[in-house]
Symmetry: C2
Amino acid sequence: MISEKMIPLMKNNSAIRMMFEEGNKLAAKYGRENVFDFSLGNPSVPAPAEVNQAIQDIVKEEDSLFVHGYMSNAGYEDVRETIAQSLNRRFGTSFHAGNILMTVGAASGLNVILKTLLNPGEQVITFAPYFVEYGSYVRNYDGELVVVSPNTVDFQPNLVEFEEKINEKTKAVIINTPNNPTGVIYSEETLQKIAAILEKKQKEFGTSIVLLSDEPYRELAYDGAVVPYVTKYYRNTVVCYSYSKSLSLPGERIGYLVIPSEMDESANVFQAATIANRVLGCVNAPSLMQRVIKRCVDANVNLEAYDRNRNLLYNGLKECGFSCIKPEGAFYLFVKSPVENEKEFCEVCKQYNVLVVPGSSFACPGYVRIAYCVSYGQIERSLPAFRKIAEHYNLV
Amino acid sequence: MISEKMIPLMKNNSAIRMMFEEGNKLAAKYGRENVFDFSLGNPSVPAPAEVNQAIQDIVKEEDSLFVHGYMSNAGYEDVRETIAQSLNRRFGTSFHAGNILMTVGAASGLNVILKTLLNPGEQVITFAPYFVEYGSYVRNYDGELVVVSPNTVDFQPNLVEFEEKINEKTKAVIINTPNNPTGVIYSEETLQKIAAILEKKQKEFGTSIVLLSDEPYRELAYDGAVVPYVTKYYRNTVVCYSYSKSLSLPGERIGYLVIPSEMDESANVFQAATIANRVLGCVNAPSLMQRVIKRCVDANVNLEAYDRNRNLLYNGLKECGFSCIKPEGAFYLFVKSPVENEKEFCEVCKQYNVLVVPGSSFACPGYVRIAYCVSYGQIERSLPAFRKIAEHYNLV
C-alpha cells in the first residue's frame, strides 16, 4: 500500500520527533515540572507583542477577502518589497520584491528550491553535524545527499574534504549558520573560502553550483556576534529564511527564499521556484502571516531570555565536568558524550527524566544536542539531574 | 540550471494563473469596474464574521507559545477530534482524531497522500474535465495521470471508460464533487457504481485502489442538493478537504485528510502521510488557523450570495443563447463554446474585457469555465458584454 520510498522513512522516523512525543508521555506520568525535555527546537520565548497586535489590527483594518485570499503564488508584492528593503537596510544588499519568494517556512523553501534545481542522481553536499531532514528533502527529488564529516575541534566546516567531494554531479551545497545543532556561526573567512572553492569548481566542471543558506537562526546571535550575509560572498546563493525562531512562529509556517538577480538564470529560477511552490501543494505562504510580516519586518524575539538560558546551562554543564563549545547562536548546546556511544548516554539521561537528542541524528555520533529553548526554571531544576548524570560517569 | 522535470511546467504554466495576472493588468489599464474577470476561483464572499472574531479571541485568550508553536505533525489533537466529531454529527460517520491529518489546504493534502502511496510508474485515474494541477501532483511522485474522457451530456463520470482504464498499475482515483469546473455533484448512484467497479477491480488484480475525494467545494451546494459522503460507499477512500471555500480562507492554506480506520493498512497510511507532511516541508498545517477551525468547525460562508450570482449569470447567459447545464454546487459555470476552438472564443471574450478560462485547461476543449465568485455588480455589468459576444456569434 505504502510507497517504497516512504518505507525507510517510517522505519527511521525522526528521533527528535519521537523524543518530543516521549517527553509528552513522561510529562503525563511524572508531571511536566519533573521532566526536563531538551529535545525539540520549539521556541520558549513568545512572539513579540507587536506580532499579536498586528494580527488583531489586520483583522480589524484590512479587507477580509484580501487578507485571507489568494495572491500571486510568490506572495503579496508589498510584503516581498518590504522584506527586500529591510534586508537592504540591514545588510547593504540591493534586493527588490522580484528576489523574494514567500514560502511555508524554511523547510518548504528548501523543498521548493530543491525541486526547482535537482535532476535524479545529482548531488547536494552538506556538512556534519546537520539537520537530518536535509536527507529527506534531497531524496524527495531523487538527489543524493553527500555529507562532509564533522570537524569537532571548532565545528567550522571541514573545507579540505568539502573540496574533494565536489564533482560534476554537485548541484547544490546546504549550509546552516548559526548552526543546528552546534550553535556555531560560520565566520566571514569560512564563507570566503567556501565561495572560492565553489567558484573554482564551477570553472573546473563548467557547472553552476548553488549555495543554499538555511537561515532560521539568523537573528539568534549572542554577545554581538555577526552573522555574515551569504549572498555577498557568492553569486549563486539562495537564502532559505524562516520566521519560526526570529518571531517565535514555528507553527505558522512562514518564511521566504531570496533568489538574487546576480545568480545564473535568476529569472528562470524564480519562475520555476514559484511554480514549484504551487505544484508541491503549498500554493502560497499563509496569507495572514504574510500581512503580519509586512508590519513586523524588523521585530525580533527577546534574545536576552535565550542568552540567560545559554549561560546558565553552559556554565552548569561545565561545572559538572561536561565538555562543550560555547555556542554563539541558535538555541542549542552540542555536548560531548562521556561515552563513545551517545545513545547509551541518552538512555542514562532519560533515567533522570532528562531528554536530549543523540548526535547520530545529526550525523555526528559521540555528541548530544540540548535545546535550551525552555523555561529558565526548567534549566534550574534540571541542573541537579545533570549533576547526578555527571556523577554516574565520574565526571565531577 | 533548472531541473528537467520543471521545464515543461514552465512552458505550460497555469492558464488560470496567467489569466489572473492578465486580469490585473487589464484592470490597471481600463479600471477594475470595466474588466469582467471570471478566471480565478478566489472567493468573493468574505469569511464568516466568527472566523475573524475567533482570530482575535484566540490571540487574546490562548497562550502565544501554544498558538504559534509546533505541535504533532498531524496537527493539534483537540482540533482533529473536533473535526472528527463534526463530521460524525453531519454524516453519521464514526471518525476520531486519529483519522484526521491537518494539511496546508487540499492541494497539499493531495500531495501528501500521493507521496504516501505512489511508486514510480503507478497510475492515478481522474475524470475530465478536471483541475489541471492533478497532473502535476501525480508527476511529482513519478506517477502517471490517466484521464477518462468527459461525458458532456450531464458531466457525471464516464464509468464504462473508467472500468476499462483500471489495471494492475492503478493505485488511486481522484474525484472532485461538487466539481470544478462543471459544478456538478456526483449522485449517490454514481458513487455506488464507482465503488462497485473499484471493489471488483481490487479483487481482479489483488490490489488496493484508493479513492481520493477532493472536496474543497463540499459546502457549496444549492437548492438543498445533497453531497454524499464518499467514505460511506467505499472503504479505501481518503478525503482531501479544504476550508478555502467553505470559510473563504484560500490564502491561509488550511485543510485536512480523512484516513478512515476501515481502509487497508489504515494506521500505516496515517503514519506515512504524517511523515510525508513533514518531509515535504509543510511540517504542519498553519497553527493559528488550526485553532480557528476548532472554534468555527460548523461555520459556513453566506451561500446565498453565490446562489444569487449563479442564478443571475446562468439566466443571463441562457437568455443570450449560450448553452450550459445549471450547476448544483461550487461556483463555476461550464459553458459550451459557440465555436469548436474555445480558445478563439476566449480571445473574443477578452476583446469585450471578459476573462474566462478555456476548457482545454481542464482536458475538456469546446467549453469555457466562468467563475462566478465575483461581486453581483460585476455580473450585472458584464451581461451587456456577454450579449455583445452572443451577437458576435449570432446566438441571439
